[in-house]
């Protein structure tokens, strides 16, 4: 009796989520519609992108909702929302293509646009072909982060500078987008494998905690200054960073944010410390505390993100290198932003694992199958990566007179290639299956993301436009 009641309650809260997400999507679309009426332009690129964001976010919420409640109808709705998002995204790509007169591959904004499109398309493909119905739980948040980043980046259409006017650009970037999206898919599949393989949540907790520690350490070592956070100054009129001289950007300090980041680092580090202690002393009680610490860390990470967004979005701050106050913009610090969002995302994934339900396992193919599909996806990604590097080298040879110049992006592309080559060797000759292979696939995707974003924003080089 009591059980039936509990089930009824889940069902009730289940439809509540669908209704909730549906209403939110409808509300956001309505707001967007009001904007459209005001500007008088229905199918502009930003509107389409906004619609895509709304649908992807709805899909992501429903997928996560399924992970928590285990109600299967969510997955159907989520899939529908993904289709709608893909349609809007396709419209945005087409609009961009038409407007610019070339395929959208010329700037990091355009690349993100294509990447998110490919990712959504591959998600639906994996859903249909491999019957991995809940893969969107992992890929949709990635797509959401992509679209949010796009809202912040420069969107104006630039004509192609002479070096980019080449068919090889299109070949190179198409291959890159396909390869990276395939890598993202293999990452999602590896995550699904770990869930299906009943990985101990403790191990995953430690990994998540280490990942977030890495993010905050990276932000602090690179940007912390005197308890504040030092970010690049922004010129709102020209929509560009302010340069002191050629290649030297002007940094301004947002006070107090640095302390907040230090606090966040301590809290995200706590679960890892507790995990190590629990391992060393074999006390399970500590793990329960560690799980609670994850909740606290998510709250604090959200606070950190919110205060960073609020204070860096607009505001005038002083600089150590020049007199006067300078404006800042989120667009000037995409690395911090994506790092903060990525940290929250990783912690949420852990929660998903913690609340894992048998329903989730039922909806997924068997662990063996997931393992095999992950391998297959990498078998597709690896030749694409190879061709991408080859096409890039050929193009560079026609443009700069040298097929390989050890530019950071090139070097990191080679590193990515080597990591996946390592995966294939370990798998084929050493028979690495299952967990170790899954960890390797996750590592590979981390390197891909660093090559895509990290190199562009953290390291200087020839690939300055992308």
């Amino acid at each position: 009796m009591a059980r039936a009641k509990a089930e009824q309650q889940t069902v009730a809260s289940g439809s509540a989520l669908i209704v909730g997400v549906g209403l939110t999507v409808a509300f956001l679309l309505f707001i967007a519609f009001l904007n459209v009426v005001k500007s008088g332009n229905l199918l502009s690129e930003s509107n389409l992108l906004y619609a895509a964001l709304i649908f992807y976010a709805g899909a992501g919420a429903l997928y996560l909702g399924f992970g928590v409640t285990g109600i299967e109808s969510y997955v159907r709705w989520a899939s529908l929302a993904t289709w709608a998002g893909l349609a809007a995204n396709t419209g945005a790509v087409a609009h961009r293509w038409y407007e610019a007169g070339h395929p959208p591959f010329a700037s990091i904004y355009e690349m993100l646009l294509s990447f998110v499109w490919t990712l959504a398309a591959l998600t639906l493909f994996a859903e249909k072909k491999y019957r991995v119905k809940v893969i969107g739980t992992v890929t949709m948040p990635v797509a959401i982060v992509g679209v949010v980043l796009m809202q912040l980046l420069r969107t104006d259409v630039h004509p192609l500078v002479p070096a980019l006017q080449s068919t090889w650009l299109h070949v190179h970037v198409t291959l890159a987008m396909l390869a990276y999206a395939a890598c993202a898919l293999s990452f999602a599949l590896a995550m699904m494998f770990l869930i299906q393989d009943r990985i101990e949540t403790e191990t995953f907790l430690a990994a998540t905690s280490l990942f977030t520690i890495g993010i905050y350490l990276g932000i602090l070592t690179r940007f912390e200054k005197w308890g504040g956070l030092s970010v690049i100054a922004w010129n709102p009129e020209e929509r560009s960073e302010i340069f002191l001289s050629r290649g030297v950007r002007l940094f301004v300090t947002i006070p107090d944010l640095g302390w907040l980041m230090v606090l966040a680092l301590l809290v995200v580090g706590a679960p890892f410390v507790l995990y190590v202690l629990a391992r060393a002393r074999k006390q399970d009680g500590l793990m329960a505390i560690a799980n609670r610490a994850v909740f606290v860390s998510i709250l604090l990470q959200i606070i950190a993100l919110a205060s960073f967004v609020l204070r860096a979005r607009s505001g005038q701050y002083a600089s150590l290198d020049a007199e006067g106050l300078f404006a800042t913009s989120l667009a000037a610090s995409p690395f911090i932003l994506s790092g903060l969002v990525g940290g929250i995302f990783a912690s949420l994934l852990y929660l998903l694992l913690l609340w894992r339900r048998p329903d989730l396992e039922r909806l997924l193919p068997s662990a063996d199958n997931l393992d095999r599909i992950t391998y297959k996806t990498i078998c597709i990604a690896f030749p694409l990566l190879t061709l991408m590097i080859a096409a890039g080298a050929y193009w560079a040879n026609r443009t700069w007179g040298s097929y390989w110049s050890w530019d950071p992006k090139e070097t990191w592309a080679a590193i990515t290639w080597l990591v996946y080559a390592g995966y294939l060797h370990m798998r084929i000759t050493r028979g690495w299956r299952g967990r170790r292979a899954a960890y390797f696939a996750i590592l590979g995707f981390a390197v891909v993301m660093f090559t895509f974003f990290g190199v562009t924003y953290l390291l200087p080089g020839l690939h300055a436009y992308a």
Binding site: P159, P162, Q165, W395, V419, G422
Partner: protein, 481 residues
């Protein structure tokens, strides 16, 4: 004996996957360090000094970490990787080659038992079973061959045997690419060449102030830039001609992405811009005394080329100062860009041989503008432009490209082809009952193979049934007769 043991152990460890992966991990770490630490040729020395403390910089320089990708130990590392690939391939190749060159056509009993995918169908006679299997294999696109045993036949069919060799193709292609890269590192070079219209050069400027002379010369017959509406460059072009021993041997208009290649040397369009020198200054000259005609004359002045204004007077452009400033009784330029320009003309009378210094604008202390018989006014300025060419010679690149193509082939073989083998053997069990044993294996993509095998067994069973029913009808007709 001892020595043999050691050399064998060295060989084993060189050829092991573990060593290979360890080397790759080291390469990855070092390469990543090379992208994070500022690198020498790309970064200015000043910037490096600003970024690192002197002691740190000294250590980085000593170890070679400021120019990782050209350090001797990095090259050594790549050579070690190559050796590891070669020895791993050599170590495994004989086995694979045996496998490849002498296909295993008749499965013995142990093999038949150990094979994961196999099936048996009861049979009335051997021949009909083999024929049915042959038909089924043909319909699946295989070409079965009959293997003759002492007392019976069996069937063997295979596809894509070449995929057993694929890994070696990939490894060979990687070595080709490395080899090309090493050839270029040793014998290749790159430099720049800046030309203005009409100029002819055979010297290439290399790094660190060195230069290199080519056995032929390059002449620029024109260069230009086309812009988008917003003013950003859309296209740079240069008309180049190759001149050898005074003879023009080749001609090409190059643009970015489309170089001129002559005798293995490639000329790339890399930049275009003002060279800070005046090509032509357009001025109007009006006589100071009205009786001389009054009409202003337009003149185009090129640097240091006297132009005749009337029967007696010539004028020449002696100096052009793009951004002038007067200090300590001298005229200097602050920069090469046009900010505050001044032109220095010299007006000479042939009869008297006297020259007058004419300055636009009249700079006090220098200008003798009042003494000049003509008044000049600047109308237009045409600056000289240079076209910047990147010059490179990469003798190893063909090796690299063929390696890339070979790798494409190899990867296709590795990932998209699997060596599928089927064996069909009529067997008798202890009771003497005849049955058709069918088995198969694939080296990759096993799930697809499973369904393939399933399909085969179904078809063989169907063929056998057909045969039985047709032979049954034959018997019926015979009985009827």
């Amino acid at each position: 004996m001892e020595l043999k043991g050691i050399s064998r152990r060295v060989w084993r460890s060189l050829a092991s996957i573990r060593t290979g992966v360890l080397l790759l991990i080291i390469v990855v770490i070092v390469a990543a360090a090379g992208t994070i630490i500022l690198q020498r040729p790309a970064t200015d020395a000043d910037e490096l000094q600003r970024a690192y403390a002197p002691q740190v910089l000294r250590i980085l320089d000593a170890v070679g970490l400021t120019d990782v990708f050209h350090a001797w130990w990095f090259v050594l590392l790549l050579v070690l990787v190559s050796i590891s690939i070669v020895s791993a391939s050599i170590d495994r190749f004989p086995n694979a080659w045996r496998y490849f060159s002498r296909p295993y056509k008749y499965p013995d009993e142990n093999f038949r038992k150990a094979l994961p995918s196999h099936k048996q169908i009861p049979l009335s006679d051997e021949e009909s079973g083999l024929v049915a299997a042959e038909r089924a294999l043909h319909s699946l696109g295989f070409k079965p061959e009959r293997v003759v045993r002492s007392d019976h036949f069996s069937l063997f069919a295979e596809k894509n045997r070449i995929s057993e060799m694929a890994v070696y193709v990939v490894h060979a292609s990687l070595l080709l690419i490395f080899f090309g890269g090493i050839v270029d590192a040793l014998w290749g070079w790159r430099g720049t060449m800046n030309l203005t219209k009409g100029e002819q050069l055979s010297m290439v400027e290399m790094q660190k102030g060195r230069s290199r002379s080519l056995p032929f010369a390059i002449r620029c017959d024109g260069a230009g830039q086309e812009n988008y509406k917003d003013g950003s460059p859309r296209k740079w072009w240069s008309k180049l001609a190759v001149v050898q021993e005074g003879q023009e041997v080749e001609r090409k208009e190059i643009v970015v992405n489309d170089p001129l290649v002559y005798k293995g040397v490639r000329f790339y369009q890399s930049s275009y811009g003002p060279n800070g020198k005046v090509d032509q200054l357009i001025v109007t000259a009006a006589a100071r005394e009205a009786r001389a005609g009054g009409e202003a004359k337009q003149l185009a002045l090129s640097p240091n080329e006297p132009v005749r204004i009337d029967a007696d007077t010539t004028v020449k452009l002696a100096e052009f100062i793009p951004d002038y400033v007067v200090r300590d009784g001298q005229v200097y330029t602050r920069s090469a860009e046009i900010g505050n320009p001044a032109a220095h003309l010299v007006v000479t009378s042939e009869k008297s041989g006297q020259s007058v210094q004419y300055w636009m604008p009249p700079i006090e202390g220098f200008a003798e503008n009042e003494k000049s018989p003509f008044r000049f006014e600047a109308q237009d300025l045409k600056m000289g432009y240079f076209t910047g060419l990147q010059v490179s010679h990469e003798p190893g690149q063909w090796c690299v490209w063929s390696g890339v193509l070979l790798m494409g082939v190899g990867l296709t073989l590795v990932f998209y082809m699997s060596h599928v083998r089927f064996w069909v053997v009529p067997v008798r069990n202890e009771k003497g009952q005849l049955s058709l044993w069918m088995g198969g294996t694939a080296n990759r993509n096993r799930d697809a193979f499973e369904s393939h095998f399933e399909e085969l067994t179904v078809r063989v069973a169907a063929e056998l049934k057909d045969e039985k029913s047709s032979s049954a009808t034959q018997e019926v007709t015979l009985a009827h007769k």
